[in-house]
């Protein structure tokens, strides 16, 4: 059944999430569904988003700005930097394990936060959103695994 008569045109929320890696395959209506469950947070440069070892309660999408991924015991040197459109915090939601690294804002940053309960709810009750998110997560983890495999020989040599 179509609900176009109830939809309020193209929402700003849809635009905000449409450019992000995790939700790139979703249509306007699905983006609006995701947005209905999401929150927005602003972070100052150098502010900590979460620490390594914390329980993961949410998934974050960078809408604007830049954040650094800092491994425990690695000093201030970041493992990676994430820019607008990228996401983090997904591992805590997938396997329930504590956060593996600290995330710190590098410049004024806006994040869209999808809480664990809402993420789980979307995954079990909306087949299209669940399949799109699962596919993107699988691609993301695949890319990360390949990057680790590429880095491994270099680490062994050094």
């Amino acid at each position: 059944m179509k609900w176009h008569w109830l939809e309020r045109g193209k929402s700003r929320a849809g635009h905000r999430l449409s450019g992000t890696a995790l939700f790139s395959d979703l249509g306007v209506r699905e983006l609006r569904v995701v947005e209905a469950f999401a929150h927005e947070r602003q972070f100052l440069p150098d502010e900590v988003v979460f620490d390594a070892g914390e329980d993961g309660q949410a998934l974050y999408v960078v809408v604007s700005g830049r954040v650094a991924v800092i491994a425990e015991g690695a000093g201030d040197k970041p493992l990676a930097e994430l820019v607008a459109g990228e996401f983090f915090g997904e591992m805590g939601l997938l396997d329930g394990a504590p956060r593996s690294a600290q995330i710190r804002a590098l410049e004024p940053t806006t994040l869209v936060v999808l809480p664990r309960t809402e993420f789980d709810r979307l995954m079990v009750s909306h087949a299209r959103i669940a399949s799109c998110i699962s596919l993107q997560l699988a691609r993301h983890l695949g890319r990360r695994l390949r990057a680790m495999l590429e880095l491994a020989p270099a680490r062994e040599a050094s």
Partner: protein, 374 residues
């Protein structure tokens, strides 16, 4: 930076129990608002899955709440409009009906005592039956004149506040998510994830308790109705439902429900105490089923409490706030426990305080960057 898992200590537990008692005392004072609020909360939890289904189809929060509320109003309003004339007729004859059933109950009791007196010389000498007949007869002779107007007036006073229920439920459905966002927006970034978990836990505890209570009521109603139907009692479903709803009051409610059914049985089956015994047996069986099978899979899931604590808290709730205290003590304690443990967790985590202080310092530096006194 790894965090140790927090466990609530005796201080938090004492705080939880004190807070529960204070809340119950306060709730008792504003019962006219608490009762409709709780009924609205139950209605909201019943309708929320329907709203969620609409949200998942891309309908906005406001439109989904409006559609679900209109549908629910029609579903609830139609039977009320249809059944109102009949209900008025029943109320008009309430006086006679009440006397008839009370008379039936007294007859059963005197029959049982006569039977016992015939078997025991001690009881026959004590004149227990005659004493009971005199005292109960005197009490119930003036019962309707003395107490019935008070009960009817009480219902009339309560009805306006009960009319609030659909309105509160509608606004909970429509604006609940806004309120949640508003609350979370006020939380500093350092505490945000913990607050998310806290709000979810409070919501889950209350939802599981009240939805569990409704499931329990449904199971009780079905079991009692089936049993009463097998015994051969008319209106088995209505009686089962009434007794199941009365069972919301711990301990006392089940006894009142059982008494009610025994009165009906004694009136409808005069001179057949066996039917009344069967109804009492049925109540005992359903009570046991409730305690050992139904409770753990419905309400028990929401309250992770030791059974001894549960029983003690029910007594404390009754002492602090009477019947409302008996009914509210468990859900209130469940929510207070979640809040207390989360507060303990937040207050004893120095890393969160440090992160918050750091964020405040960063904000101060940002806003004072160009404010220099030479």
């Amino acid at each position: 930076m790894s965090l140790l898992r927090y466990r609530a200590g005796p201080l938090v537990w004492t705080g939880n129990i004190l807070a529960t008692c204070l809340l119950l005392f306060f709730f008792q004072k504003i019962l006219w608002l608490v009762v409709p609020f709780i009924l609205a909360l139950v209605l909201h939890y019943l309708l929320a899955p329907l709203k969620l289904r609409l949200l998942l189809r891309g309908v906005s929060h406001d439109a989904a709440a409006a559609m679900v509320s209109v549908a629910a109003f029609l579903v609830f309003a139609l039977p009320v409009v249809y059944g109102f004339p009949r209900l008025l007729g029943d109320v008009a004859g309430l006086h006679e009906t009440l006397l008839r059933y009370i008379g039936g109950g007294i007859r059963l009791l005197t029959d049982v005592l006569s039977d016992l007196e015939a078997r025991s010389a001690f009881l026959a000498e004590s004149g227990a039956r005659a004493m009971l007949e005199t005292q109960l007869g005197g009490f119930f002779e003036h019962f309707t004149e003395k107490y019935l107007p008070g009960i009817v007036m009480g219902l009339m006073v309560w009805s306006p506040s009960l009319l609030l229920v659909p309105f509160i439920a509608f606004f909970m459905l429509r604006d609940g998510w806004r309120f949640r966002r508003l609350l979370l927006r006020a939380v500093p970034n350092a505490y945000f994830e913990r607050s998310l978990a806290l709000i979810d836990a409070v919501d889950r505890t209350a939802r599981q308790y009240f939805v569990g209570l409704l499931q329990l009521t449904l199971l009780d109603t079905l079991c009692l109705a089936a049993g009463l139907w097998v015994i051969g009692i008319d209106g088995a479903l209505m009686l089962g439902l009434l007794a199941a709803v009365l069972a919301w009051i711990p301990f006392v409610g089940s006894v009142i429900g059982c008494l009610l059914v025994v009165l009906v049985v004694a009136t409808d089956f005069p001179g057949q105490p066996g039917v009344a015994y069967a109804a009492i047996g049925l109540f005992v069986a359903v009570r046991l089923l409730d305690d050992f099978v139904f409770m753990p899979v419905t309400v028990g899931k929401s309250l992770n409490m030791h059974p001894l604590v549960t029983v003690l808290m029910i007594f404390i709730g009754g002492a602090v706030a009477g019947v409302p205290g008996l009914m509210l003590v468990l859900p209130v304690l469940g929510v207070v426990m979640v809040l207390g443990e989360s507060a303990g967790q937040l207050l004893t985590d120095p890393r969160l305080h440090a992160r918050h202080a750091h964020a405040k310092a960063l904000e101060l530096r940002r806003v004072t960057r160009d404010l220099r006194i030479d």
